[in-house]
Symmetry: C2
């Protein structure tokens, strides 16, 4: 049997049904381009029958001239009506896409309860709708909703649904574990059974993660004969999410001998995952398999000693294969190895046996104990190590800041900041306004620094995270701020800590500029449009 697997990406449709995910048409176009670069075969763009944003997407995506086939998603015709006159189906045609995904009921319980119609009418709805779209020249992917629950309950009917879809011309018969409750061995049995009942058809699998088995279920289906996998980047989707393509693709390709995307594209996986999470504006869990920032991050002292000798001791694959990288974490579990490895990574002269090394390791552990987290703030860690090795050149000295926010009912809020620094022998006192306190401080700080350091003009704040640390009294609790800064080619993160969110933000802001002034930053790539090229790999 063929070892080629078709990758069907539904990030832009099923993915948007996850809590906290909402994509504009622009967002979808950016993501579609990225998915196409990765090499997925189908990109399901949305539901033209119910979403104006999606109609806009389908219109504009044609101009991108993507290799992937764009598909529109929709239901079979309404009961007791004609396919030709069905609004949904008409809108799917109007979307002008080469392929359509039709979802139809395959669980008798749903036919009775949700559709409130007969088993026979449901078969007709499926047959008619597929035949109609096929007659208009579209490729049709039939998604049999709740297929596994349906097959367990009434295997004859579920199989009849698939048979009808095939007769009507469906190009793919996709078995969906819509409620996410099926187990891998059940998937294996049912897929094997169906492929025997309908030999020669092209089968697909669409799983959900309600038991944390979406990936395992998809792999099980493929081993039993399915050749299309439907999933999403980062596993976004309704409830617990869809099958995570970022886990499935590398597992199939690197461990199971299948081919999904071009081999040379696999290293784009991590970058793609992060890009999509940025556009979707959701945090990517650090521990996400393959592509998470902690996927190859080693913390325990024993692990670190071993991987510094040979990465295969604690890594199941080389991170570069998926575009990720190994990281050594510095924490209170850290041995000397972790800190020294970091110093070496940064090109600093830290003699492992020196008093200097011992002191900075103690200082780091102490700061971590106070709540600093250098794991996500490599630039602040580097500044600390440079202070320890004497390789730090302070180009400005902080004197004071004042920050004022005023708001009256019915009037816009006003934020002003006043910053006093010393550069060389000169005292600079600047005032800045902004849309918020951090913006005002940033503006005042830049005014003070830019005159002397014009290289700072291309850097900007690209992400700002706040975390409150202690539980007992939350408005008097320690606050940790992580700032991510970017310029054309680099990304760097700094941390600040205080019970005062403004002071913590100030600390992280100042560190971001001290780091920029180290001379590590050089203006290079002027492509402002593609976030993906702007140093995400460094994060």
């Amino acid at each position: 049997m063929s070892k080629s697997i078709t990758i069907f990406d539904t990030t832009l449709r099923d993915g948007t049904q996850g809590e906290g995910i909402s994509l504009s048409a622009d967002d979808k176009l950016k993501i579609a381009k990225k998915l196409d670069d990765l090499g997925v075969h189908y990109i399901e763009g949305g539901i033209p029958g119910s979403n104006m944003k999606d109609i806009e997407f389908f219109n504009r995506v044609k101009d991108l001239r993507l290799n992937a086939k764009i598909t529109a998603f929709g239901s079979t015709r309404r009961k007791n009506s004609l396919a030709e006159q069905d609004d949904n189906l008409q809108r799917m045609l109007a979307a002008g896409v080469p392929a359509a995904t039709l979802v139809g009921k395959s669980w008798d319980f749903h036919v009775h309860t949700a559709l409130q119609t007969t088993l026979e009418e449901n078969l007709a709805m499926i047959g008619d709708s597929i035949a109609f779209l096929k007659s208009k020249g579209l490729e049709v992917i039939f998604d049999a909703e709740h297929f596994f629950d349906g097959y367990k309950n009434n295997p004859e009917y579920a199989a009849a649904v698939m048979a009808r879809a095939r007769e009507a011309g469906a190009d793919w018969l996709v078995m969906c574990d819509t409620n996410g409750g099926t187990l891998p061995h059940e998937i294996q049995d049912i897929v094997t059974s169906l492929t025997q009942r309908i030999p020669g058809a092209h089968f697909g699998i669409h799983t959900h993660n309600d038991c944390e088995l979406a990936v395992a279920n998809a792999l099980s289906a493929i081993q039993a004969g399915a050749r299309q996998v439907q999933g999403t980047i980062n596993g976004y989707g309704e409830r617990c999410g869809n099958a995570n393509l970022c886990s499935i693709i590398p597992t199939l390709q690197l461990k199971m001998g299948y081919s999904c995307i071009p081999e040379e594209s696999l290293p784009q996986l991590t970058n793609t995952a992060r890009y999509v999470s940025e556009v979707a504006n959701v945090n990517m869990p650090v521990n996400q398999p393959y592509v998470g920032s902690a996927a190859f991050a080693h913390k325990g002292g024993i692990h670190v000693s071993a991987i510094l000798r040979d990465s295969r001791t604690y890594e199941h694959i080389a991170p570069e294969l998926v575009g990720n990288k190994q990281r050594v974490l510095v924490s209170e579990l850290a041995g000397q190895s972790n800190v020294l490895s970091k110093a070496q990574e940064m090109g600093l002269n830290l003699d492992p046996s020196s008093e200097q090394a011992r002191k900075v390791i103690d200082k780091i552990k102490d700061l971590e104990h106070q709540g600093y987290q250098f794991e996500g703030a490599d630039a602040s860690l580097e500044l600390l190590l440079r202070e320890a090795t004497g390789e730090m050149n302070e180009l400005f000295t902080f004197e004071s800041f004042k920050m004022l926010v005023e708001k009256s009912a019915g009037k816009p809020v006003v934020s002003e900041a006043f910053v006093k620094l010393k550069v060389g022998g000169e005292t600079l006192y600047t005032a800045g306004e902004g849309n918020g306190p951090v913006n005002a401080l940033d503006n005042a700080l830049r005014k003070a620094l830019l005159a002397h350091f014009p290289q700072l003009k291309d850097m900007h704040l690209s992400d700002y995270k706040v975390r409150v640390l202690d539980e007992k009294d939350q408005t008097a609790a320690k606050v940790r701020v992580l700032i991510e800064s970017k310029d054309y080619s680099d990304t760097w993160s700094t941390v600040g800590m205080s019970t005062n969110v403004i002071e913590a933000s100030w600390e992280a802001l100042v560190d971001s500029m001290r780091y920029a002034l180290l001379g590590q930053i050089s203006p290079e790539n002027t492509d402002l449009l593609d976030v993906g090229q702007r140093g995400l790999v460094n994060h």
Copy 2:
């Protein structure tokens, strides 16, 4: 074969090797008590050989008189030395625990590269160490590190390691997929093979999530004969984490006919997961299977219509079985069903066909489009719906606030807030100080309100999240603040949005008090120690 599965929880040991997780001895004791209430069989508390916090834990945990067996983790004796003289082993004894988990190498590659010793010496290290601890009356769980990689590479040696452990008296032989790269069918084959080679032994499985298969691998091992599962709450652990017990336990117990924890304890699962994430101070992904706040959250209009008719249409189990609950999400994908269902849930009179309903649905969609997210802020949503239905009683009116933060080099930061409100006909102008701007505003606001509304005294801010929304210019971007407030029995969340983080925080703070003043809150449970009882189920 028995259907009882032994649950071995290593949240407090392997779990702490995950990035961003750091637990004090106090944290560990709180969590241990919670795990014991849930009914796990073993609680691995830490590594007495290398961690002072853990020695403190082992001393103090005895006073809790838990049902679960506490175990200490450590390595086999060092090469070319005597077990009796090994520091690690001595500290494991000194921990005074009834059971010890000994980790030993079972992959010849590791014996040569990491330990730099001979295969025979490694076997002796394992045999000696186990025999030594057994002679001191301990139960011994042997963790064969990298077992599956070891077995694939050199099955005779890996099996010999297990045989030696058994001969020396190990009570459990645990196969660890330490690098997380093994596949479910390989697990099945290898576990089956080993159980045939060493019949009658008690086998365990310890998996990692580097391919997103930790849960599937654990289930596969159990189906092949393993009877102990090692994992962590919420899947915390090194790199991509350990096997997630919150996914394994309900799957084994509700779907596969095994028994792990007492049936009446299973509904505590969600509360346990959230409690542990709070103590560990890490966000729980909303889409976590079974226990995530979105695990049974329905967003698409079609899904919502169907589940309002019958939950089984889109839920694989009843959420209450694991202590979770169904939620209907309001978003731009929402149909009328979502909003109306929420209104009904809140006990409000919103006539579905009314102009009122149409207006508030439009308003919600518009606010969501601006960036408000009511999904995580039920209290703000309720206030909005109440405004629409005229069931909102505003007890105070906002006039103005000023907020000032000052910092000079070498001096502590100062935050002051000045708040002007009207209550009844009376203007109240208060000043507050704080450890930060939100704390200062909170204090000034409370001073103004408490005189008239003493019922606010028991509420406090329990979580504070900030998210920056637009990418282009991050310090002038929209900021969304989510505040979680608590009193003795309830938890409620409110949202604020602005380009100004102070104004956004103010909005969320004011909403939290408006909500508290609705009279929904009643002081009940005065047990301050157990966070778990304080309304977490409501979140």
